[in-house]
């Protein structure tokens, strides 16, 4: 038995480490490139260890655009967008999972339908709508569309559907309000999914690029990816700057992920409830 266990753990660490190294190769390259001077960043074979490593590119990135300001903007936008999306989608998902009403399936398929049209052709109409509402060049205009998120709604609906009806029925009998049921029963039960969704939504909001570029014209409102795109020249990129910028922008996403890990564990805290 313990022999088997040992074999199992050796197998696990071996394969897990191997996969990790492979998956992280580009990441190592990003770090190495960001430390290179602006000389040749691409060589064959790959030069993993830079000749004269230095933090020059990082310094330059900080100089090129209002960096601190854009990080602040990005954090604000990404956090607010995540909150809006997760809450509004969880509410909608609860209805789609647990209420029966006429037109439910049609309404839900409209959600899915919005995922199926390429954003390239709905961007201009969206821009015109934001302009009509008078929200151009505002953070509200940037974030308002995230009230609705078909991906998040669908994901949560799938999860809330697995919550046994009996739990809700019991609460209804006791006279709990729908709001209480949602808050005290549904949300705690789908915590791992909520955590995952937070990670994903934050990542998407953080990386969002074309929409803020178009909606926000004020330099002081620039988000980080918009600022980083300024490093794209007409005649090719400066990879060392680009990689330094991308690495900095990865950090917040990683922090959110590490923070959310805590909640992956808590899905079962309501006493092995899903049975």
């Amino acid at each position: 038995m313990s022999h088997n266990k040992l074999k199992g753990s050796i197998f696990f660490y071996f394969s897990a480490t191997l996969i990790a190294i492979f998956m992280l190769l580009p990441f190592f390259w990003m770090i190495s490139t960001s430390l290179k001077s602006s000389g040749s960043v691409m060589t064959i074979p790959i030069q993993w260890i830079p000749e004269n490593p230095g933090f020059n590119s990082y310094r330059k990135v900080f100089e090129i655009f209002p960096f601190a300001r854009s990080i602040f903007n990005s954090v604000f936008v990404a956090v607010a967008t995540t909150l809006i999306t997760v809450l509004s989608s969880a509410m909608a998902a609860y209805v789609f999972a647990k209420f029966e009403f006429k037109g439910r399936e049609i309404l839900f398929s409209l959600y899915l339908a919005t995922l199926m049209i390429p954003k390239q052709v709905t961007m201009i109409p969206n821009f015109l709508i934001i302009r009509e509402i008078g929200l151009l060049n505002t953070f509200t205009g940037l974030m308002l569309p995230s009230l609705f998120n078909a991906f998040a709604t669908f994901m949560l609906r799938q999860n809330i559907k697995t919550v046994p009806d009996s739990y809700i029925e019991a609460a209804v009998m006791e006279g709990s309000s729908q709001f209480r049921i949602f808050k005290d029963i549904i949300l705690p039960l789908v915590k791992p999914t909520l955590a995952t969704l937070t990670v994903i939504t934050f990542m998407e909001a953080w990386n969002r690029y074309l929409w803020p570029l178009i909606v926000l014209t004020d330099r002081s409102k620039m988000t980080l990816p918009v600022g980083l795109s300024l490093l794209n020249g007409q005649y090719g990129e400066q990879y060392n700057l680009l990689m330094a910028g991308s690495l900095i922008s990865i950090i917040p996403m990683l922090l959110v992920y590490i923070f959310a890990q805590k909640y992956f564990e808590k899905g079962l805290s309501v006493g092995g409830i899903k049975g």
């Binding site: 199926m116 049209i117 390239q120 899905g267 899903k274 049975g275």
Partner: protein, 295 residues
């Protein structure tokens, strides 16, 4: 289904749906209708309002050799990508769903490709897939196989893009499936162990049915996404060699913003929409056979 008091029920539905449906109408449906009406028009975006031309765009697209070729390329990608991503992300989720020491570190490491930029990722993949010096062909060589030209070969460029996409996406879908696995109560497994079920039986009889709602989600989303394959193609091959990796959305982007044919691009998008919609509809119908929402 749950019994609610009628008055209460509709009020709750209304309140809970309000923010989301408002967003759906204004930022989802309305822009779609906008692009639908553009698909019946000729519009270069910059010089004044669109001009209605009826079904011309649709007719021209369907008559063009290009549409069928890029549809074919897109389907080729999907056929390779979908089974691979499902198997790899489910395996990853299962691997991460255990309690070895340091598992949290691995969980974090596997997430890193998801947040790594495509620019860095694709550059490395170009090198990994290099026909002469690349890691992959060296390995193939070692086991006695002649590696293909990958991104520089018409028939191997798409598989090359599939490999890079798997690298990028496996952490994403793996995470979603992992969160589904976390929702399964350990009591099931304990009971099954007492009954003497082996690990394959446990996987087949417990894990798979209980994770099926999440699996359905992953299948549908990955299908929708892969029909809209775009950034990796733009960065890795620009549609080449000889058009072998030109795909639907790459064409749509070009027509919309580089060729000044937004109407044509919109019609292209709606044809894509119809295809994806039908495929998804079939999935949603088929789900009744294999997805279990309640145990």
């Amino acid at each position: 289904m749950i019994f609610y008091k009628k008055k209460n029920k509709y009020l709750s539905i209304f309140i809970f749906l309000l923010p989301s449906v408002l967003g759906l109408i204004v930022f989802g449906i309305l822009p779609m209708l906008g692009s639908l009406s553009l698909s019946f028009s000729e519009w270069d975006i910059i010089s004044g309002p669109p001009k209605l031309i009826g079904l011309d765009n649709f007719v021209n697209i369907l008559k063009s050799e290009e549409f069928w070729r890029v549809l074919n390329n897109t389907l080729y990608y999907i056929i390779l990508y979908i089974p691979l991503i499902l198997i790899s992300s489910l395996s990853l989720a299962l691997l991460l769903n255990n309690n070895f020491k340091g598992i949290k570190i691995y969980r974090t490491l596997y997430y890193i490709p998801v947040i790594t930029s495509w620019v860095a990722g694709s550059l490395i993949w170009k090198i990994v897939l290099n026909p002469q010096f690349g890691v992959l062909n060296n390995i193939l060589n070692f086991i006695g196989l002649q590696g293909p030209g990958w991104l520089y070969d018409q028939s191997w460029a798409m598989p090359g893009i599939v490999l890079a996409s798997i690298w990028k996406d496996v952490g994403f879908f793996g995470l979603i499936l992992f969160s589904g696995l976390r929702g399964i109560s350990p009591t099931y497994y304990e009971a099954a162990k007492i009954d003497g079920a082996n690990s394959w039986q446990r996987f087949k009889n417990i894990t798979l049915p209980l994770i099926s709602p999440t699996l359905l989600f992953v299948i549908i989303i990955s299908l929708i996404n892969s029909f809209q394959l775009f950034p990796q193609v733009m960065i890795m091959t620009q549609g080449g060699p000889n058009g072998a990796t030109q795909v639907m959305v790459e064409r749509i982007y070009k027509y919309a913003f580089q060729y000044y044919k937004m109407g044509y691009a919109s019609a292209f998008s709606w044809l894509l929409f119809i295809i994806v919609f039908v495929v998804t509809l079939v999935q949603m119908k088929l789900q009744k056979r294999w997805v279990h929402y309640e145990s």
